[in-house]
């Protein structure tokens, strides 16, 4: 592509249709709530210990207060989601507050995301190591530990809890690093299942705690008055040398609130899942939000309250600060074995929920950084896809690298991590609420819902509710700057580093964007569409969609062009731009930058088409899931077939299976198409996606015919047709299947092991193998079916 060439006339330029809406599969509000709770609920495991360590036994009241206040923060997020401002955190804040604060806001959000992993992983490690030590000490009490072990450890054998926590956290982080390099998808199924198990644990935990309180009697924690606040030297931060350290009065309430604000970390996930929530969106978003609020109030708030009530005051906080829920279980009334078993259950659930939060943090950071890169604030060097898996591996490496450094620096101390984490949490909330407040005056577009109450004074609306939430967040954030030394220093260094990277990247990108824009205009005609509609984008029915990702492997495009008469049928080259959950709330917009990789990809596609003397259409769709995006585009265009190259990470059968799953999940109207995978050779394997006539073998057809012939000889069968034989056979099979599913399945499996099983197993929409390939080799003159 020569930058010095003349701009071609629009008719000569290849058109790229850029869809601006993300192709999503929608989820119920229960699933949305489960995803948010996986992040939000994890803080129940560590916030109680951190807050109690910071200012004493009145901590549960402040955590309850924070959980109540999180209802109001939730309202701000609901209003932000109900607005139709295009863009992620960066674009929304930029629109309200300008570029500098927008970059700071994203930096704070990144700090929040990156610390979510280490704090969750280290906390999970602390719970596991704590359980192991407890089991060893109980075994030792029974004399089950050999004396040699005693000699080795100079007493009861035990794990160094902090060191074990670091090792466990590193292991889980590195596991999810590899999963993310390979391109793991965040599954709402998994989130829902984890939350179902967590709910069982929460019900048992709270129920048993209440029974214990009724049985042994327990006092409420000290009331949240200044006199009952006992700040440790660390929790006074920069204030320890001032008079406020001794005469804080009501200011102490504000300081204690700041130390408890960690309890609502994860609330920001609500904005991420918003785009995926099913219709009616706002209603379901609010439903998900209230479920999240009630659940976390009970789990984190009431759970911590009961823990402080039940664990005797004589037990030093240092014994259980990082194992609050586990320690609580050990003070329940009941047999020791049962308590140990339940503690194990609590730890297993904790591991599931906390390790899930590590994955969420990597996925979320990846999504946010991908998004800011698309917005031109981070150079597209970071977005270069991994050669084999197509993931933005440089961003994943950066995020996990920072997390590993954080884990090692923390030395397994949850308190240090918690203190730093609070910086990211509170500042990202503060920036968001400030942006929403400013947008109340600046943004005049559609808004589904507003945070109440709103006063009308002289025809002007005063957003009293929004202002109140902002005042609480801002004062808390500012006080935390003074009381949290580690958070302030590390947060400022981190944010400044990211701010610097963003600022330099933006300058580089501004220059580059002008150049790219010019080059794109020279060779491509960009057409932005909200959604792909066949008529609107001028594609004829029964087109062929060719999916492309890597410009080094475009065999499928060559094959299609070789075998398709483009004068009769359109060939649409489709590139899905993956957007992570962190950018799930956003769309592609006109200003977004095409990366070098995308430009090369499109240029190569056009060159190939030109070498065949054929015309192609290019299309870019943002997608959370590639297969959903392909199926939705195929449905919108009425495509007859979709052609893809062989995936580097799955077989053609698995590709077809995933395509079938996406087809099943796609909203109606939808129609059948043929999915073809072009392998090197070239060898082509075809699958039918959607309901279709089965491919009957000659033997099957003959059997139907023989049965029909035989039945036809009998009296009263004059009107019998071949399809009646098939209908009867199927009806009988369905009846047998409902009566004795296992034996039918056994027979079906036996059939699949027979002659059919010898051919590569191919997969239909519901995951069932198809009898044999439709096309074993490339057709001489393929016509879209």
């Amino acid at each position: 592509m020569s930058s010095g060439s003349q701009i071609l006339s629009p008719s000569n330029r290849v058109r790229i249709v850029v869809a601006s809406s993300v192709a999503l599969t929608f989820i119920s509000f229960w699933r949305a709530a489960a995803i948010v709770l996986n992040d939000l609920g994890s803080s129940a495991y560590y916030v109680g210990g951190i807050a109690e360590d910071a200012f004493g036994r009145s901590a549960p009241w402040f955590i309850l207060g924070v959980m109540l206040f999180s209802f109001a923060v939730r309202a701000v997020y609901v209003e932000s989601c109900s607005m139709f401002v295009r863009g992620g955190v960066y674009r929304v804040v930029k629109e309200a507050l300008g570029g500098t604060l927008a970059k700071l806001s994203v930096s704070a959000l990144m700090f929040d995301y990156i610390l979510t992993g280490p704090i969750s992983g280290v906390s999970a490690g602390q719970y596991i190591a704590g359980l192991v030590n407890e089991l060893i000490s109980k075994a030792d009490a029974h004399g089950w530990v050999p004396p040699r072990m005693h000699a080795l450890f100079h007493g009861t054998p035990h794990l160094n809890v902090n060191a074990a926590a670091v090792v466990i956290c590193l292991a889980v982080t590195l596991y999810y690093w590899w999963e993310n390099i390979k391109g793991i998808e965040e599954s709402s199924d998994k989130a829902l299942r984890v939350m179902q198990i967590t709910t069982v644990m929460v019900v048992l935990l709270l129920g048993w705690a209440v029974v214990t309180v009724m049985k042994i009697g327990a006092d409420l924690p000290p009331w949240p008055t200044p006199a009952n606040l006992h700040f440790s030297e660390t929790s006074l931060g920069f204030l320890k040398h001032t008079s406020l350290a001794h005469t804080f009065g009501l200011f102490g309430i504000l300081m204690a609130f700041g130390h408890s604000v960690l309890a609502m970390s994860g609330e920001e996930t609500l904005a991420q899942v918003n785009r995926e929530i099913a219709h009616p969106k706002l209603k379901n978003l609010k439903r998900a939000a209230i479920i999240v609020a009630i659940y976390s109030f009970l789990f984190t708030g009431i759970g911590t309250l009961l823990a402080v009530m039940i664990i005797p005051q004589r037990v030093p906080i240092v014994n259980y600060e990082n194992n609050l829920l586990a320690e609580l279980v050990m003070w329940f009334s009941g047999p020791l074995l049962l308590r140990l078993l339940f503690r194990t259950f609590v730890v297993v659930v904790g591991f599931l929920i906390l390790s899930g939060a590590i994955n969420t943090s990597i996925i979320g950071s990846n999504g946010v950084l991908n998004r800011v890169s698309e917005d031109g604030v981070l150079t597209d060097w970071f977005r270069k896809p991994q050669k084999k898996y197509g993931t933005s591996y440089r961003i994943v490496n950066l995020v996990v690298g920072l997390q590993v450094i954080t884990i090692l620096l923390s030395r397994g101390d949850v308190n240090v991590l918690g203190e730093a984490y609070a910086f990211g949490v509170i500042w990202s909330f503060t920036f968001n609420s400030l942006a929403m407040l400013v947008l109340r005056f600046k943004y005049k577009g559609e808004r589904g819902w507003k945070v109440p109450p709103n006063l009308q004074i002289f025809g002007k609306e005063i957003p009293l509710g929004l202002l109140s939430v902002f005042m609480v967040l801002l004062t808390t954030a500012l006080v935390n700057l003074a009381t949290k030394e580690v958070a302030t220093v590390s947060g400022i260094i981190f944010s400044a580093a990211f701010f610097g990277i963003f600022t330099i990247s933006e300058r580089v990108n501004t220059r580059k964007f002008k150049h790219v824009e010019k080059e794109m205009k020279e060779h491509f005609q960009l057409l932005h569409e909200e959604r792909i509609e066949r008529e609107a984008v001028g594609i004829r029915p029964d087109c062929t969609i060719v999916t492309v990702r890597d410009y080094n492997t475009l065999l499928q495009l060559r094959w299609v062009l070789q075998h398709t008469d483009t004068a009769e049928y359109d060939v649409v080259v489709l590139a899905a731009r993956l957007t992570g959950p962190g950018s799930g709330e956003v769309d592609l917009s006109t200003e977004q930058i095409f990366s070098d990789h995308e430009q090369t990809l499109f240029t190569k596609c056009v060159s190939i088409a030109e070498s065949y003397g054929k015309h192609i259409s290019l299309m870019v769709v943002p997608a959370r899931d590639v297969f959903s995006a392909i199926v939705q585009t195929a449905n919108s265009l009425g495509a007859a077939r979709v052609v893809a190259g062989l995936s580097t990470k799955m077989t053609s059968e698995e590709q077809a299976f995933r395509m079938g799953q996406a087809w099943e999940a796609a909203p109606p109207p939808k129609h059948q198409f043929v999915f073809q995978v072009v392998k090197p050779g070239p060898e082509v394997q075809s699958f039918r996606i959607g309901p279709h006539n089965p491919d009957l073998t000659t033997e099957d057809v003959m059997l139907v015919h023989r049965l029909w012939l035989d039945a036809r000889r009998q009296a009263g069968t004059e009107d019998l047709h071949h399809h009646d034989i098939v209908t009867l056979a199927l009806t009988r099979l369905a009846s047998d299947y409902s009566r004795d599913r296992q034996s039918v399945l056994k027979e079906l499996r036996g059939t699949a092991d027979g002659p059919i099983g010898k051919t590569p197993a191919r997969v239909g929409p519901s995951g069932t193998p198809l009898p044999k390939p439709i096309t074993a080799t490339p057709p001489t003159e393929p016509k879209p079916q």
Binding site: T25, F26, I27, S28, W30, R31, L68, F69, F71, A72, R74, A75, V78, S188, L192, L239, T242, S243, L244, F248, G249, L250, F251, I253, L254, F257, A278, H279, P280, K283, N284, K286, R287, A289, I290, I291, A293, V451, P452, P453, L464, G465, L467, S468, V469, F470, M471, V472, L473, L474, T475, T476, L478, V479, A665, P667, P668
Partner: protein, 57 residues
């Protein structure tokens, strides 16, 4: 140092005032939105929605 302390005390009072005013306002937000959302949670949809399995009903 003494002056610094006095400034801090004044700033602390301003912060406490803003914080408490914000807390009162936020509690109003919580009450209104909680009641509103709770009604939504129990009310049925007029239009087809998506069930827990993710398929449209």
């Amino acid at each position: 140092m003494k002056l610094m302390d006095q400034v801090l005390q004044i700033v602390a009072r301003v912060f406490v005032f803003l914080f408490l005013a914000g807390v009162i306002g936020s509690m109003i937000v919580v009450i209104i939105s909680f009641v509103e959302d709770l009604e939504l949670l129990v009310e049925s949809d007029d239009e087809p929605s998506v069930d827990a399995a993710g398929t449209r009903a």
